[in-house]
Symmetry: C2
Subunit: 153 residues, 2 copies
């Protein structure tokens, strides 16, 4: 075939969706490989970061912080609880709610994740100026209002 990237030569408006998709998967795959020894995935380190800032947060709050719906955060918490990274404790004031807490292992994993993220970020920004990265960040952020979830319209 000798033209493995003919997709890339497709019409301009087709590319951004594809590029975003590929970039996302490349990054996820990379992080998964990097954190293989620690056993923590990209999504899991996201929750570790949240708890690092606000230990004891409600599940729903953690989900909102990570832009995850109820099933997403529920599954993530299940896996991380099974891996002994976090603990789930009932909220004393609300029988429906659960609060999430880092375990010692979770704290250690968070420290490792922080170091790994520094490396990832260095790669993410390499070759681009501050101003360009700001454009990128602004564009990525803009997608949240352009493609709202549910009733946000």
């Amino acid at each position: 075939m000798s033209d493995p990237d003919f997709w890339m030569s497709a019409r301009r408006e087709h590319r951004l969706v594809f590029l975003l998709n590929v970039a996302h998967r490349r990054l996820q795959r990379w992080i998964a490989a990097q954190t293989q020894q620690s056993g923590v995935t990209a999504a899991q380190s996201g929750l570790l970061f949240v708890l690092g800032q606000r230990d004891g947060v409600l599940m729903g709050e953690a989900g909102a912080a990570l832009d995850l719906g109820p099933p997403g955060i529920s599954g993530l918490v299940d896996r991380m609880t099974a891996a002994n990274l976090i603990k789930r404790r009932a909220d004393p004031d609300d029988g429906r709610a659960w609060r999430l807490w880092l375990t010692p292992a979770g704290r250690a994993a968070l420290a490792q994740s922080k170091a790994g993220l520094a490396e990832v970020n260095a790669r993410l920004t390499a070759g681009f100026s501050e101003a360009e990265i700001d454009v990128v960040a602004r564009w990525l952020t803009s997608l949240q209002s352009k493609f709202p979830k549910g009733e946000d319209e």
Copy 2:
């Protein structure tokens, strides 16, 4: 909590990974909702586009075009074959290989996807200049070499 986006105020180097992740999911979710009636998902329309340009492509070639590994393209083809969007026919010259062909239903779905993608692209680029979109596209593309798959190093 009244501060649902405290994650967003995290250190600057933590944000791009998160923003990319969220942007990707928002977009996927949006496309899934839009194409609900046609029953075609974002990943599936990707393969439709590839076949629209090169009907009869090898599975491996389609996977390369979409940046999918063997299991990824295999599963996608399974689902799309079951949905009668594409057909899998043995390559006459290579007993290991299969070639993919659009069905009439697949062609119709492709036409619908093209229209939908125009709408998506309008949103993706809204509020940003050509030059800014170019920066974004260049940045997204750069991730492919910064986070290579496997042995590419």
